[in-house]
Structures are given as C-alpha cells and as structure tokens.
C-alpha cells in the first residue's frame, strides 16, 4: 500500500456505496441469501411430535433437534459437531477459497438484505451518494425514515427469531402481544437485534477487514491450486479506454477498458486488479461486473474470473492435493464417528458420585459401608423400569434401591445408595461397578465404574 500514513490513521472510515449489479454470481448469492435466511427465520416455526422441532431449551437443559433430544451429558456430540464444522471450513477453503465469506457468512448474508432494503428506499448507488450529500429535506427525511423503519423492524424480527430458538417461539409471540415478556428474554432479543442492525447496517465490510479472525487465518489454508478471484493481468494490461470499434491491439492496449466498474461494485472497496488482497471476501461481484462489460465490448468473458494461481501462470491445477486429501480424510473419520455414536446411542445415562465426606463407615457385625449418589437419566420419552446391580467384588450388596426402580420419561432420578461388604473381604481400595439395565430392553444397559474403600487387611 502506498497510501500516506499518519494523519489519515485517525480518520474514520469512509462509507462505501457498493453499486448494484446483476449476473451469474449475484444470482447465486441471492439464492444463498434466500435459502440461508429462509432457514433461519422458518426453522423455529416447524413442529415435531407436538413440540417445536428445533428448540435449545436452556431452562430445562435439553436440546431438541427434530427427533433427537440431547442433554448436557451429550456434550461430546457438540464437540464433534464443532470439529466437523471447522474441518468443513478448512476443506472448502482449501478447494474453493473464501466461498464461506462470499456466500454463506451471516455477516455477508445479512448485509446483502440490508443493502437491498437500502436500495429499495434510497435508490441506486449514485442516488444514495447524492442523497447523503444533499441538505436535509422532506424527501431525504422520508427516504431515511423508511430505511430505518425497514432496518429496525427487520432487526427486531431477527432478535425475536433468535430468542425463538431458546424459548418456544409461539408462546413467545403470544407473550409479546400481551406485553408480558421476561427481562432476560427482552434483553437477548434486543441484544441480537441490535447486533444485526449495527453489523449489517453500518459495520458491514469493516467487520471482515478489521474484526474477523477467519479473514486473518484463511490464507493459511490456501495454496497455488486454491480457487481465487483474479484479474488476468496478462490479458488486461496495459489498460486504457477505447471505442468499441477500435482495434485495441493496434493501439497497444490490453482488454481492460479501465471502466472501474469492478471497483464500484466491490462491497469492501478494493481494486481487484491490484492482485489478491486480504480484504477480498470473494463475493464475485467484480466478475459479474467485468463480464457485463466484456459482453458489451464483444470480448470474451473472464478477464476477472475464478481461477488458481497455477492456472494464471499456465501451470496445471489439481484438486487432489495432500492438503485436500488430509482434510477430507479427517472429515470422513469425524463424520463416521458422529454417525455411529448417534446411531448406537442408548437413551440412558448413569453418573455415580461417591460420597466424599467419609472414606467408609463401619457398621455393627463387621460390615463396611460406602455411600454413593446415582444419577439415572432416562433419555427416552416414556417412563422406564430399570434393574440396578452392583458387581466387581465377591459378596458386595446394595441397600436403598427402591422396588420397582422407575424413572419418568426425560427425567433424572437422584438415588442415594449404600454398598456393603463384610470386613473380611475388604482389601483397601477396590474397583466396583454399577450396572443399570432397562427391564423392557436388555440392550439399554450402562455400566459405570466406581471405587469402594475399606480398611486394608
């Protein structure tokens, strides 16, 4: 960068007015926006078995995802899922570059909608620039007011939807109509709504340029075969204006007519012709812009295009590189682990907590007693009867188990029990296990290890 530093360092960022554009990639981006935002706003309204299909019920500490109900104890699934998402991001970045930034990132997607609302109320790029420079008038007020009205309504709806993932959204709607919303609910709704308003309405590309961690480390996943959006310098230079009928080759010019449309459409305000820059979010708006000019000039498309560094230098590009294969292998492994463990998951969790206050107690008749609290979590939706058996040492018995041992559907039973052993069998620290089995289905069994302490012989 050759910009003068110093005083400029402390000036605030100039507003970028991205110019509207249409084309292949803009259509793709619109489809991505509609699908992703459509999912975000629609999913909380879906029902499944007479409850909300996707509901992260924090007060009850249960997570419903369609037919699946996860508990805090199922945390490994969340960890696996996060790892799968991270490796998918690495994998797709290695192959397709910043596809995430250009098409799927919430920042991009919501900004797209907010810019669309801006265009609807304030007009095209040049109209918007003129409007911002003009003194206040009724027309300016009307346009600005409608924009703010749309933005704020949309943001509030977004906050409402967000909270609707954590509280039943239909009840929440009723509560809002009845003006009977809890303090935290209101806070989180407004918090998320305000974040949307600020990020998509005002911060926009500055989030990508200055705040996004992915923008900083995505280059680590790049190599010379990664898809990038690039200007074909060899073909375009020297750039210069010309008439459509001119023989530009005779004038010694390249195919770039220097119309600057690629700069005007760029949401981050860069000039793609200066080469690959970290500000580029790969939204492909410049490709659409340049293609439209190439069509008008009757030049072949693709002066700015998706390509790879190798292809630009006339070398062979390949998709199957060690990096891509490693990411793919890790993804396959992680997804298989998740799928297998979800498929073979037993709807029963047992936690054994040993009473830490006393090592052991001596009962009359030379009996050693240890106390435990068992947490038996029945994750199925129906009540279930279980059989609890203690094992691991010859002659150990269990006291305090109710007959029959029934746990209601989706409930936790906290059961204090005492294990007893004749003193003659005591060998210091011994390993024992509690096994819990459903009476109606022996496959639903969990065995938990614990320790039994007694005096050494």
């Amino acid at each position: 960068m050759t910009k003068p530093q110093g005083a400029a360092l402390y000036e605030s960022a100039k507003k970028i007015y991205p110019r509207e554009i249409s084309g292949r990639f803009e259509n793709l981006s619109r489809i991505a926006t509609v699908v992703l935002l459509g999912l975000f706003y629609a999913v909380p309204w879906l029902s499944w078995d007479e409850r909300q299909a996707v509901l992260f019920d924090l007060p009850a500490r249960k997570f419903h995802i369609f037919g699946l109900t996860l508990w805090p104890q199922d945390f490994p699934y969340l960890a696996l899922l996060l790892m799968i998402l991270a490796y998918s991001l690495f994998f797709f970045t290695a192959i397709g570059g910043r596809l995430w930034c250009g098409f799927a990132c919430p920042q991009t997607v919501w900004t797209e909608i907010f810019i669309w609302m801006e265009q609807l109320t304030e007009g095209t790029r040049s109209q918007r620039m003129k409007l911002d420079k003009a003194p206040w008038s009724f027309n300016k007020f009307r346009r600005k007011f409608s924009k703010q009205f749309l933005w704020i309504t949309f943001s509030l709806w977004t906050g409402f939807t967000f909270v609707g993932y954590f509280q039943p959204i239909r009840d929440l709607g009723m509560d809002i109509v009845a003006l009977n919303v809890g303090g935290w609910t209101l806070f989180w709704g407004l918090f998320y709504g305000f974040a949307t308003y600020g990020n998509a309405g005002y911060m926009r590309e500055q989030v990508c340029k200055y705040m996004c961690p992915y923008a900083r480390f995505q280059s680590a996943m790049f190599d010379k075969d990664t898809l990038i959006i690039s200007y074909d310098e060899e073909r375009g230079e020297p750039r210069g204006s010309r008439k459509r009928s001119d023989d530009f080759k005779a004038k010694g010019l390249g195919e770039c007519i220097d119309c600057q449309l690629c700069v005007q459409v760029c949401p981050t305000g860069i000039d793609i012709r200066e080469g690959l820059q970290y500000e580029c979010i790969a939204c492909a708006a410049c490709i659409d812009a340049c293609d439209s000019i190439m069509d008008r000039m009757n030049y072949p498309r693709g002066l700015i295009r998706y390509t790879t560094e190798n292809a630009l230098h006339h070398k062979k590009s390949s998709i199957f590189r060690p990096r891509v294969l490693i990411y793919a292998a890790l993804l396959v492994i992680l997804i298989s682990i998740l799928a297998v463990s979800l498929a073979t998951r037993t709807p029963l969790i047992v936690d054994v907590i040993r009473d830490r206050n006393t090592l052991f107690r001596e009962l009359p008749g030379d009996i050693i007693e240890n106390s435990y609290t068992l947490k038996i979590i029945n994750q199925s939706h129906e009540p279930r009867e279980f059989i609890l058996v203690i094992g691991g040492i010859e002659g150990i018995t269990l006291d305090g188990v109710p007959e029959p041992l029934i746990v209601a559907g989706g409930n936790v039973l906290s059961l204090p029990v005492r294990a007893r052993l004749p003193r003659s069998s005591s060998r210091g620290i011994m390993h024992i296990d509690f096994s819990v089995t459903a009476t109606d289905d022996p496959a639903v069994t969990v065995i938990e290890d614990s320790r039994f302490l007694g005096p050494s012989p």
Binding site: K3, A13, R61
Partner: protein
C-alpha cells in the same frame, strides 16, 4: 489512486482496531466457554453452593456466566493488546546529526 472516491480507503486507527478485535474475539471465545462450562455445570447447582437462599434462576445464571466469561476474556486480551503496543521507531537526536 484509481477510483479513490468509490473506496472506503481510510483505515481504522490502531486503537479502534484493537478495541473492536478484543471485543469481538472475546465475545466468540466467551460464547464457546459458556457452552462448554454449562454443559458440565448447572447454574442452579452452582448458585446453590454460593448461597442457598439466592434463587435467580437458570436464565440469569447463563447470562451472568456469559458476561463473566466475556469480561474475563476481554480483560485478558485487552491487557495483552495494551502491553504489546509498539510505536513507530523515531530516530534519536544523536543519529540525526
């Protein structure tokens, strides 16, 4: 430079960048920390260990946990960012002569 008028080319100041990066990254880390922490601990149990009579409910417990983590992470990375600040080198008077 070409097309200067179209571009938001004024960069954020270092301080502004630092404040926003610290705020945003600690927000993300706090979100993950909150998920992990409350997967293992129930806020109601935790509050019970501090004061039996305090009954602020799970919602407030989660929120308090999140803001605690956010503040902690922001403090940590904020102090780090402050301590690693570097100023451009100035030539000393002797070298100028």
């Amino acid at each position: 430079m070409v097309g200067e008028e179209y571009r938001g080319t004024q960069r954020w100041s270092r301080n502004k960048q630092a404040v926003f990066i610290v705020g945003w990254i600690s927000f993300l880390v706090a979100a993950i920390a909150t998920m992990v922490f409350f997967a293992f601990f129930d806020p109601v149990d935790l509050i019970g260990t501090i004061d039996d009579e305090l009954d602020i409910g799970r919602d407030a417990g989660y929120a308090a946990g999140f803001f605690f983590f956010w503040a902690l992470c922001a403090l940590c990375s904020g102090v780090t960012a402050y301590l690693v600040r570097t100023a451009p080198k100035r030539k000393s008077k002797r070298q100028k002569q």
